[in-house]
Structures are given as structure tokens and as C-alpha cells.
């Protein structure tokens, strides 16, 4: 299973970031927890609201700049780095990141066929075999963790590992898509 997020730590410096928002999380204030109803709750000073986590840079820096937003889409907090949080909150958000960064991880390419307007792929992923379709002009893009990401017509992402991590047959099949 590929969790395309905080395994890939982002060391980009952000010297000015602390000045930008008074909602910026810090170790003393924000607390995030997963409550019994299964939702994320965030708040300060004992008051908390259910929130959803939005990753500001889901591709380039998936574990940085996490916006926690309430039901009205108002930003409750902006977490610059997980390390800004106390242990419990960090763990909760870390788990949420795993789910948010989930993509289907291809281990073998079985077939790629061109059809009208679409390309049909049959792949073996870590989750099992899957067939999917991409637009003919949809090309893969670089994945932050290496390899490529291919988006199918439904919006699902498939991570194709670097060429040398694939078997020879798969390499031949995806050669046209990889530099």
C-alpha cells in the first residue's frame, strides 16, 4: 500500500510562515483528536468542533500546511508542520494523512490497450488486480515519492514505481509513458 504523503518529508524552509496567520497551530494551543463518532475534532482551550483536513500541497508537500476546516468551510487552524503539534494530535493527524494520501500502488502492468478516446489499463496493485481507463491525452506525472502517478477517468490515482522496480514485461509496456 502506498501512502503518498508524510513518508516523504518536506524540508523546504518557510522562514516567513510564522508571521502569516494567527491561526497557525502551535504546541501550546491546538488539540486534534479522533472522537468516538469517528470524526476529527479540533480546537483550543477545551472547545472543539468537528473538522476535515485539507492538504494545501497534496502533491509537493503532502505533510505540510494542513488546513483544518469546520462544517462551514471556515479554517479552524493551519498546521504548518506535524512537529508543531503535541504527540497525541500529531499521531491523529498522521493517521488521517495516511488515508488522505492513499493511492493505488501498481506492482505489475498486465496490459495497456488503446480504445476510442480512452486507454485501457490492466494492472496488479498491492490491493489486488484492477482495470482502469484513462483519457488518451492523459499522461502520467511525477509522483513526489518517485515514479509516476496516473489518473483514471474516475479520478483514482495509480502510482507506477520507477522503471527499474518493475518486471521486464511491465517495463516494456509502460516504456512509452516514462522518460
Amino acid at each position: 500500500m502506498q501512502h503518498d504523503n508524510h513518508q516523504h518529508s518536506d524540508e523546504r524552509s518557510d522562514k516567513h510562515s510564522d508571521k502569516h496567520s494567527d491561526k497557525r497551530a502551535d504546541k501550546s494551543g491546538l488539540r486534534v483528536e479522533r472522537r468516538v463518532d469517528g470524526r476529527l475534532w479540533a480546537g483550543r482551550d477545551g472547545s472543539a468542533v468537528p473538522v476535515r483536513m485539507v492538504r494545501c500541497f497534496p502533491w509537493s508537500s503532502p505533510a505540510r500546511m494542513l488546513s483544518l476546516r469546520d462544517a462551514d468551510d471556515a479554517e479552524v487552524a493551519l498546521v504548518a508542520r506535524l512537529s508543531d503539534l503535541e504527540d497525541g494530535s500529531r499521531e491523529v493527524l498522521g493517521e488521517a494523512l495516511l488515508e488522505a494520501g492513499f493511492v493505488l500502488d501498481v506492482v505489475e502492468v498486465l496490459e495497456i490497450e488503446e480504445d476510442v478516446e480512452i486507454r485501457r489499463w490492466q494492472v496488479r496493485t498491492r490491493q489486488g488486480d484492477r482495470s482502469f481507463q484513462t483519457a488518451l491525452d492523459a499522461w502520467p506525472r511525477d509522483a513526489p515519492t518517485g515514479g509516476l502517478l496516473m489518473e483514471d477517468v474516475a479520478g483514482d490515482l495509480f502510482r507506477i514505481p520507477p522503471l527499474d522496480e518493475l518486471d521486464l514485461k511491465s517495463q516494456k509496456k509502460v516504456w512509452a509513458f516514462i522518460d
Binding site: G38, A96, A100
Partner: protein, 763 residues
């Protein structure tokens, strides 16, 4: 499986989606039994488990219950849990890259009733499921389609949007394409007959040449016969060859002419058929497809089909006939040498086929890189002002240079491949010729051996001539797959449009309202463009004929969608729109739209004169009427200032005019049409104050005596509105006069009004 499901949808599902095409029958039976016979109304599949591995969890909706059936890892029997819909307090969704989680909550201090994780493939069916529950929580009932059909439709929708084909099999597509030849049967027979004659006639000269060598030249040289005795036969053979050439060229002429024209007729018919159908399709189709792609289908795809029908079909079939003919003649003349020549042919064809496949990969790679080059061009050329303003010329040049170098390398790889392959192929043919020489030489020298009896010079000369005819059909047969692929792919693209059914269609016996009075009623209207996100949610209102209604509210709130439903560009997802008490879906849409006018924020003008654009909706309008409409639209004065007046050609989309001028022409167009219901969609935005004043004056004249829906961000432009409807988040948040709405202390309108007042004050 219900009869409502189209076979093509089911076929597409089963060939594309690796998951069950319906709720398993035994599960449905068990669930319905557990619910005391209450039927399944809707269901969706959650295909991920808590560990984010593939799973099969069905969530099933009944009138009073929800069931969740999880397939266990070890136990083949699914675990089914039920809860009452009345227990649901809230729904919560978390969104990830390829994983969504839907939590059905019973309360904030209780564990969730269900947690469903799914990939985006299930998004539509899951969101439709969630929508029904959400609406129920708000006290609304959503009318549901057949459960199996809606599940299949929701899952295959992204593929359908990308590819709307009914006929999927390649051979069926070719047959369908060939059916367009039916009206031209006579030409087809003539063209194909000529093509057949060309092939047969091509085999004659080498045969006669061999005959001449063996029966005339050889015996004369050997002194076996007198030249004078065989001169007549010799000249007859030469005349035969000449006649063959003449007949062949006549056949070539007939074939080229007939088939070229025939192909053109078919392409014309396809283009007409396609263009007619494009006009029948709903706007939703145009929002799914790129304009460029549709233009290509009408232009270059039909052109490619012309090429295929005019030449491809004939070339391929003739090459097959030619190869069979050649093989037969060669085997007839000398079966041993014939075998030497014909046995390598399938291998050569196979080599060409493999090379074609390899080239396809190379081209794919090259086109991928080519698209990166064109991406930069389509980015930077329209955005050149920004590039210059930010002084990024060097960066853009470097970016382009890198990609340009990259694509050139890929194309050179292609050149390296074909330039290597073709000499090798020709060498392969030449090797066959050498082989023929090796087998023939001992026999030509008169030695009877294991290779066969002595060979006559004439037969060998015929062989040499036939060998030169071998290369072209081999080349065509080897490329047959590519030719067929190109043609069927173009045919598919054309048929895809033809197979798309309009989503907005007229009833069997449509009602004509002559004239439309202008009474409009929305009854609990909900609408979604993509079948998932609800843009309008249960909107209801009543508008009397002749009322001027201002539609206001935040951007993206649903105002334009409401206008689209009013013009019946789309049909409602739920509820109904009534015009003069009749459901809009029962009206004759053409007749109704003749009585509806629209002035849009970005008025679309066609290439042509100003006069032609003003009377676009009424081509028969007199010049007096055209000028009168332009005067009322405050357009007459600026038109008169143009050197060619009303005959000024305004170019594609009216690009030679300013935004305000285009807008006034579109108002004149609406005035001339004299609609009973008028929709003004942000008609005065993005123009300067003076132009706005002129447009406002024109609109004040335009709105008199008809029902008007005016969408505006600048609330000041709605000062004459009888009532204002505030549309916020897909709902009718407030309705009333300006004064009534301002009187609401926490009202949306009041907030918007005060915000605009502040902005105007600051300005």
C-alpha cells in the same frame, strides 16, 4: 437485472469495471427478508476496508432501513448489519487522493452507524446515496430511479463521458461504416469491379512476356522455327500486352474517379449526419467534450474516412487479391519456384506488422513529449503580456528549448527505427530473389536435379517480372492493421457522437403555448450537472406573467443554473418547472425557446455582418425592424459610426467590437426576437460606467411587457425589479422586494448590499 438497463451499459460495465454489476441476488433477498419484505431502493459499493485494501462492502437503502453487508476475509458469508434511517443524525465525508470515507453518524457521542471507505470509482453512487440520506434529514424525499440502473449508470458515467459508444466491436464498426456505401451501390460495384480488373490485368503482361520468350524468341534464336512463321503470334502477344495496358489504365481511371468521388459522398453524408446530430445534443454534452475534439471529428476524422473508403478498402482488398493471384500464377507456372517465392511472404508481412507495433510505441512516446511542447505554446502565446510583465522570457525560452530538444530526440528515434527497418525489409525481398536465382539457375542451365526439371527461360522471365510486383502488396498487407486501426478509430469517434443521445428530449406529443404568457413556477427543483454535486436543492417559487425578478446571491450559488433550467438547456434532476401551468418537459422545446430570450454576460456573436447578428433569431426581419431594435438597444449610433454600418463584418465572436458594443448588439438581437420570457445573465458586468448606463437604458426598454429574470452582481442594476430572489448554496434563501429584504437584520441580501455599499464608498 431489470429491463431498464441498456445492454450497451451493461456491456461497458462488464468489460471495463472489475466489480459486480449489481447487488448480489442472495444479498438482496436476505436484506429484503430482514426488512420484512420492504424492497431495496438504492445501493452502492464501498471497495476499500479499514486497512485500505480492496473489499466488497454493500450499503443498501430501504424505505426505513439501511443495511451494510461486509464480505468477511475468511468467511464467505457476508456480515449484514442493519439500522433504522431514523437513527441517522448526520453524514460526514473525508476526502483523500483516491480514498473517500463516508461516516453515517448516529450522534456526536456515539460510534458511527457505518463507516464506508471507497475509491473514487464509487464516488458517484456513494454521493448519490449520501444525497438521498441528507435530503431525508432535511425533510425532503428524492424520487429514486431503478436501483440497479442507477448503480450501473453512476459507476460507468466517467467512462461514458470519455467515450459514449454503442457499437464497440471493431468489425461491427467497419460494417456500420460500409453501410454508408449502400446508397451508392452502383458506384461501389463499378469501382470494385475496376479494381479487380486492374489486379487481374496486372498479371497478364509478365505471362505474355514469358510466352513470347519461350514460344517465339527462344525457338527463333535456337533456329527451331522461322521468324516469319511466328511473327504474327509475336505481334499478337505484343498487341495483347498493349491492350492490357490500355484496359488497365481505363480501369485505373474508373476506379480512382468512382472511388474518390464515392468516398467524398460518404464523407459528406457523415459530416451532414454528424452536424445535424450535434444540434440535437444537449448542452451537457458540450460541457463534457472539448470543442477542438468535436471540430476534429467533423473535419479530419470524416476526411480520414474518405481516404479509407476511397482507397484503403480497395487497396487492402486488392493487395490480398494480388497476393493470392500472384501466388496462384507462380505456383501454376512452376510450383517449386512458386513455393520459394511465396513461402517468405507471410514472414515479411508479419515483420511489417511487428515493426508497425513498435512504431506505435515510439509515436506514443513522441506525441507525449510533443504535447509538452504544445502545452508551453498554448500557455505562453496567449499569456505573452504576463510573461513580459514578469520578465520571464528567458525562463520560458529555456523551458521550451529543453522540451523541443527532447521531442526532436524522440522523433529521431522514430527515424532511426524506420530507416533501419525498410532497407532490411527490401533486403529480405531481395534475398528471396537471390533464393529464386539459386533454385532456378541449375535448372536454367539445363540440369535436372533434386531442385526440379530444367526450367524454360520464359517461365523464369515471368517470375522475375512477377517478383517486382510483390513488394507493394506486402507493404500494404503489413500495414493493414494500422490502416484499419486508423479508420476504425476515426469511425468510432464519429459514431461516438452519433450514438450520444440528447438528454433533453421532447415528449411524444409536445404542447405548444402560443403565445407563452410568462407565468413561471419552480416546484421543489433540484439539479446536478454531474449527477453528484447538487447545484440547486429544492428551489420553489411562483412568478406572475410580466414580473421582473432579480436573481442575486454569491457566485456559484446556482443563479445561472436556474436560468439554464428556465431555458430548458437541462432538465431538472427532481421537482418540476412549470410554464403557464404546464411542465416545461411537456412543451415543444423549439417552439418554447422561440419565445425565450437571453442576454448573456459574454455575448456570443457570429462571424458575419452586424445586421445578420441582430436578426439571428428572426432572419426574415425587415431592415426597419433591425434598425428599430438597434436604436432601442442604444447600438444604432455606434453602428452608424462604423464605415460599413450594419454591413460591418464583425469577425469571429465579434472580436472587432468592444465588450459594451457586443452587449448592445446582443440586446438588439433579444429586442427583435420579442421574447415572452427574458433572461439577463450578468448583462452589465465588466463594462465601464458610461457603457453600463447605455446598456441599462436599453435593458429598461427591453424588459417592458414580459417576464424577466435578471441576474446581477451589482445590486444597483436591479432597482426596477418587482421582487428579488436570493440564491445561496443552491437554495432560495430569501425572496421579497428590496425594502423587505433590507429589513431582515441577518439577511443574506442585506449583507451583500452593505458590502457593496462599503466597496462603492471606498472607491
Amino acid at each position: 437485472m431489470t429491463a431498464a438497463i441498456r445492454t450497451s451499459d451493461l456491456d461497458l460495465f462488464e468489460t471495463s469495471i472489475d466489480q459486480p454489476s449489481q447487488l448480489p441476488a442472495f444479498l438482496r433477498q436476505r436484506i429484503e427478508r430482514d426488512w420484512g419484505g420492504s424492497p431495496v431502493q438504492m445501493y452502492a459499493l464501498a471497495d476499500l476496508d479499514g486497512e485500505l485494501s480492496f473489499a466488497e462492502t454493500w450499503v443498501v437503502l430501504g424505505a426505513r432501513h439501511v443495511a451494510v453487508a461486509r464480505q468477511g476475509e475468511t468467511d464467505p458469508e457476508p456480515v449484514i448489519s442493519h439500522f433504522e434511517r431514523s437513527e441517522i443524525s448526520e453524514l460526514s465525508t473525508e476526502e483523500g487522493l483516491s480514498c473517500r470515507t463516508l461516516r453515517i453518524l448516529g450522534g456526536s457521542d456515539a460510534p458511527p452507524l457505518a463507516v464506508l471507505r471507497f475509491t473514487l470509482r464509487q464516488r458517484r453512487s456513494m454521493e448519490a446515496f449520501a444525497f438521498v440520506l441528507e435530503q431525508a434529514l432535511e425533510g425532503r424525499t428524492v424520487s429514486l430511479a431503478d436501483a440497479d440502473e442507477s448503480y450501473i449508470q453512476n459507476v460507468i458515467r466517467p467512462i461514458r463521458d470519455a467515450q459514449a459508444l454503442v457499437v464497440r466491436h471493431r468489425l461491427a464498426v467497419v460494417w456500420r461504416l460500409l453501410s454508408y456505401l449502400a446508397p451508392y451501390r452502383k458506384d461501389v460495384i463499378l469501382g470494385m469491379g475496376s479494381a479487380g480488373a486492374i489486379t487481374v490485368l496486372a498479371l497478364v503482361p509478365p505471362f505474355l512476356t514469358g510466352y513470347l520468350v519461350d514460344r517465339v524468341i527462344g525457338p527463333v534464336h535456337a533456329g527451331e522455327v522461322e521468324a516469319s512463321n511466328v511473327a504474327e503470334i509475336a505481334w499478337l502477344a505484343v498487341a495483347g500486352i498493349a491492350l492490357t495496358y490500355v484496359l488497365r489504365q481505363i480501369s485505373v481511371w474508373i476506379r480512382l474517379r468512382r472511388m474518390a468521388m464515392l468516398g467524398e459522398f460518404v464523407a459528406r453524408d457523415l459530416r451532414n449526419h454528424l452536424y445535424d446530430h450535434l444540434h440535437k445534443l444537449s448542452l451537457s454534452f458540450y460541457s463534457r467534450k472539448k470543442t477542438g475534439s468535436l471540430i476534429t471529428r467533423v473535419s479530419s476524422d470524416t476526411d480520414r474516412l474518405w481516404e479509407f473508403l476511397a482507397f484503403g478498402v480497395v487497396e487492402v482488398s486488392l493487395s490480398l487479391v494480388m497476393l493470392v493471384g500472384l501466388a496462384s500464377v507462380l505456383l501454376y507456372l512452376d510450383w517449386r519456384l512458386g513455393l520459394v517465392m511465396t513461402l517468405p511472404v507471410p514472414f515479411l508481412c508479419w515483420a511489417i506488422h511487428l515493426h508497425g507495433q513498435h512504431m506505435q510505441k515510439l509515436f506514443l512516446r513522441a506525441w507525449r513529449k510533443w504535447s509538452r511542447v504544445t502545452d508551453i505554446l498554448s500557455d505562453t502565446i496567449p499569456g505573452m503580456r504576463v510573461v513580459k510583465a514578469f520578465h520571464q522570457e528567458e525562463r520560458e525560452k529555456e523551458r521550451f528549448g529543453f522540451r523541443n530538444y527532447d521531442v526532436a530526440s524522440e522523433f529521431n528515434r522514430i527515424h532511426a527505427s524506420w530507416t533501419t527497418f525498410w532497407p532490411f525489409l527490401i533486403f529480405g525481398v531481395q534475398l528471396t530473389i537471390i533464393l529464386v536465382w539459386c533454385f532456378a539457375l541449375p535448372r536454367l542451365l539445363g540440369e535436372a536435379s533434386a531442385l526440379g526439371p530444367p526450367l524454360s527461360m520464359g517461365v523464369f522471365v515471368s517470375f522475375l517480372l512477377y517478383m517486382t510486383m510483390l513488394v507493394q502488396p506486402i507493404e500494404i498487407i503489413g500495414q493493414m492493421a494500422r490502416i484499419m486501426n486508423r479508420a476504425t478509430s476515426s469511425a468510432h469517434r464519429v459514431f461516438e457522437v452519433l450514438d450520444t443521445e440528447p438528454e433533453v428530449t421532447d415528449a411524444a406529443d409536445p404542447v405548444k403555448l402560443n403565445p407563452v404568457q410568462g407565468e413561471v413556477k419552480f416546484e421543489d427543483v433540484s439539479f446536478s450537472y454531474d449527477g453528484v454535486r447538487q447545484v440547486l436543492k429544492g428551489v420553489s417559487f411562483d412568478v406572475q406573467a410580466g414580473e421582473l425578478i432579480g436573481l442575486v446571491g454569491p457566485s456559484g450559488g446556482g443563479k445561472t443554473t436556474l436560468a439554464n433550467l428556465l431555458a430548458r438547456f437541462y432538465d431538472v434532476s427532481a421537482g418540476s418547472v412549470l410554464i403557464d401551468g404546464t411542465d416545461i418537459r411537456e412543451l415543444d422545446s423549439g417552439d418554447y425557446r422561440l419565445q425565450v430570450g437571453m442576454v448573456l454576460q459574454d455575448p456570443y456573436l457570429f462571424h458575419g455582418s452586424i445586421a445578420e447578428n441582430v436578426c439571428y433569431g428572426m432572419p426574415e426581419a425587415s431592415l426597419d425592424k433591425v434598425v428599430e431594435a438597434a436604436q432601442m438597444a442604444n447600438a444604432h449610433d455606434f453602428i452608424c459610426d462604423l464605415p460599413h454600418g450594419y454591413d460591418t463584418i464583425i469577425g469571429e465572436r465579434g472580436h472587432t467590437l468592444s465588450g459594451g458594443e457586443r452587449q448592445r448588439i446582443s440586446i438588439a438581437r433579444a429586442i427583435l426576437k420579442d421574447p415572452r420570457i427574458l433572461i439577463l445573465d450578468e448583462a452589465t458586468s465588466s463594462v465601464d460606467t458610461e457603457t453600463e448606463r447605455k446598456i441599462q437604458q436599453a435593458m429598461d426598454r427591453l424588459v417592458t411587457g414580459r417576464t424577466v429574470f435578471a441576474i446581477a452582481h451589482r445590486l444597483s442594476t436591479l432597482h426596477k425589479a418587482d421582487r428579488l430572489f436570493v440564491i445561496d448554496n443552491g437554495k432560495l434563501a430569501e425572496a421579497g422586494t428590496h425594502a423587505q429584504l433590507l429589513a431582515r437584520p441577518d439577511g443574506v441580501y442585506r449583507r451583500l448590499y452593505e458590502l457593496q455599499k462599503e466597496v462603492n464608498h471606498a472607491a
